[in-house]
Amino acid sequence: MKEAPFVAAEPQDTQPLARRIRGQALRMVTRAKASHIGSALSIADIVAVLYGRTLRVHPAAPDHPQRDRFILSKGHACVAVYAALAETGFIDPALLDSYGSDGSMLMAHISHKVPGAEFSTGALGHGLPFGTGKALAAKRRGQDWRTIVLTSDGEWGEGSNWEAALFAAHHGLDNLVCIIDYNKLQSLKTVDETLRLEPLHSKFEAFGWAVREVDGHDHGALVAALEAAPWEPGRPMMLIAHTIKGKGVSFMENRVEWHYRNPTPELLAQALTEIAGEKGDA
């Protein structure tokens, strides 16, 4: 029997979705007194575009064989994805209240036990090799779903990522997209001061990937790049998304301490006001 074609969820307006993701992420880390809010705000627009528009997924069938696979390799930024899963119907939004508390499904690194999450990470350099295995499986079986892996920039210090980069190009995995959240700030200092990645674009080109660069907070640019996939037959895709760590909250932007700190109630209120802006819907 032929399987019924997979129907992805209806696209939605990604701007308000991104504001709600930011708002939920801020509330979650505040309640849980958890870290990594800067990393989550950095990817909020990318995640909003993925779940609101470009990923072929549906909350009614989170394990559908024809769905796109999205892997968050920077598992410490999981609040952005949990918020997106709640805002798009994969999990009950009330579950977000339990984030990081004893016995919650929502641990402070992304967990595959959460509906809609493919893979648990937390140790860096694991998402791309795993996603490469998924992309190879799809190729070998002639299936047309895509694998999208979101990595941080700092985690490109991990050798396993470069092993996967070689492999994906060698095997022509043009069903694989890797998005780098290139906020240029890692755990202690900037990427440039820690372990330089530049020239990143030409590095990946030299590895055999099709490479594009976008403003990682420009929804139109993100949608255009992701919807144009595959960019070149036979090449995996590297989307270098230039981002700002802590994006959307003035006192968090480009500040390394917000890799660790959690907001006081007063700072949360201020942050939510900034996120909501004139719209009032964060």
Binding site: G131, A135, E163
Partner: protein, 287 residues
């Protein structure tokens, strides 16, 4: 064992179209037939074991039972975190296969001595260790692993190990398999290729092999230990974190712990380069 492994895997792949083999650029004169017959289920990942293992987990998450294949410590220690997080934590059907268990590659030196691999693998909660003692146990273990897919580690010797069974034995995690009749009060119990050492040290005692074991299978050990006055374990692995330790832990705090006498390789061999039989003798496994 290596030949029994690849023959059996190739036969199983014929009837199970989800079996895939990923090698870490090793397996010359071993893997060619599998690669030729099942090109869409064979990958040479190159000299990149971390990616090999993450890749295997990714494929396993899409319905494959993936066997990763390399020598000694390369598919285990080099990618220990991928095994721990990607394979074991997600309970994915990936079987890590290492050839050259123990000091089978003796003269190649410490880099090629797999004498701490049990310690690593048995610390993972969902991992089944398959350490066959002869070519027939190798086939039995493989059939069990394919029928019961999950995180697993298959530790092989090299080639040319003697055959100790007459037919393919029944195996299951934690279940001892009798290999030689004899005095059943004081017995020898080996895992892996140390079966050969057990057979040569039997001196009238019964010899048992335990080719499949795991953290969960510890629970089955006290009842089997209770049937014997003395259980001497043998393994081509260091004592620390090894098979004898595992068995002793299963009865820790009870009088039965005193019945277990582990024989394992002395850490002295870690600074030595010699052939397998010499290292096994210096290490105290063989006499």
């Amino acid at each position: 064992m290596r030949n029994a492994f690849i023959e059996e895997l190739t036969a199983l792949a014929e009837s199970h179209d989800h079996i895939a083999l990923i090698v870490g650029d090793l397996g010359y004169s071993v893997i060619e037939e599998f690669a030729d017959r099942f090109p869409d289920r064979f990958v040479n990942a190159g000299v990149a074991e971390q990616n090999m293992t993450g890749l295997a987990a990714g494929m396993a998450s899409e319905g494959y039972h993936v066997f990763t294949y390399s020598i000694a410590n390369f598919p285990t220690f080099r990618c220990a975190e991928q095994i721990r997080n990607d394979v074991d934590h997600h309970r994915l059907p990936v079987t890590v296969v290492a050839v050259g268990g123990g000091v089978a590659y003796g003269a190649l030196g410490y880099s090629h001595h797999a004498v701490q691999d049990y310690a690593l693998m048995r610390a993972m909660p969902h991992m089944t260790i398959a350490a066959p003692g002869d070519p027939l146990e190798t086939r039995a273990c493989l059939r069990w692993l394919v029928a019961n897919p999950g995180p697993s580690y298959l530790r092989l010797g090299k080639a040319g190990e003697p055959r100790f069974h007459d037919s393919i034995p029944d195996v299951a995690p934690g279940r001892w398999v009798k290999v030689r009749d004899g005095d059943d009060d004081s017995i020898l119990l080996s895992t892996g290729a140390a079966l050969g050492a057990a057979m040569s040290r039997a001196e009238g005692r019964a010899v048992w092999s335990l080719p499949l074991w795991s953290m969960a299978a510890k629970a089955d050990q006290p009842a089997q230990i209770a049937r014997h006055e003395r259980v001497t374990t043998l393994e081509d692995h260091l004592a620390d974190g090894g098979f004898g330790s595992w068995l002793t832990e299963s009865v820790a705090g009870t009088p039965a712990a005193g019945r277990i006498e582990p024989i394992a390789l002395s850490a002295e061999i870690c600074d030595r380069v010699a052939g397998q039989s010499t290292l096994n003798r210096i290490g105290g496994l063989t006499l």
